[in-house]
Subunit: 132 residues, 2 copies
């Protein structure tokens, strides 16, 4: 099978500019920002409402892709872990899955809270949240 190619559907505008400044994960964050969805994909937003929690997939374009093991952040003494046992941005396909709260919607722009993602990161998907 050929390598599938992703379409970038939008871009994140936020105030996190370095990994050091990023919350470790969305569940520890109250940071706010805006998901700008490109006009050609705007029709796909129909039905999303303010107050809802959405699942957003980002393409972490600054991450490295060729490490299969990493040290847990801030704690090297716990030893190396396989990237698939972690939420590290380092992984063969650097996709982040964030659960974000929609604060407001203006046409193709969604204001969200709970961000743990760098300003300028490409967006590749949005889904309704479900959980087990």
């Amino acid at each position: 099978m050929e390598q599938p190619k992703l379409q970038i559907i939008g871009i994140l505008h936020g105030d996190i500019h370095s990994r050091e400044d990023a919350p470790k994960n969305f569940d520890e964050s109250e940071r706010v920002g805006t998901l700008e969805i490109y006009p050609e994909y705007q029709e796909g937003l129909e039905g999303i409402v303010a107050g809802q929690t959405i699942v957003v997939l980002f393409w972490l374009h600054k991450s490295t892709r060729n490490n299969l093991q990493v040290y847990p952040r801030g704690n090297r003494s716990r030893g190396l872990r396989g990237v698939f046992a972690t939420r590290s941005p380092v992984r063969p396909n650097p996709i982040a899955v964030s659960e974000l709260k929609v604060q407001a919607i203006r046409a193709n722009r969604l204001e969200v809270s709970g961000l743990d993602i760098l300003d300028g990161t490409p967006i590749i998907d949005i889904k309704k949240k479900i959980s087990r």
Copy 2:
């Protein structure tokens, strides 16, 4: 930005062979199957344990990518929805995010339950589950 290319890290072996036979979502499924991770990525599994819930990203290679609105499954009377407000497999980047329970691990094969995904679907990522 160029279109990012995905690496396929493995393949799902299961007993769901048609969309009609698939549970609507992982939260309604007890179906079991095996995640076969290709040997060159096996090192990345280190640290995953039986009993754990993992987040698995699949590339839905049979989905169409050029619809931005869909009817809710089994209920056309509710009208069209934007794909980003749904969990439909139809979307610009047909990536599924499933929460699966690890039943057993044998080298590069993870037996899991909770599947809502077709047999033969490519795997693109595995993550530790966190939630808000």
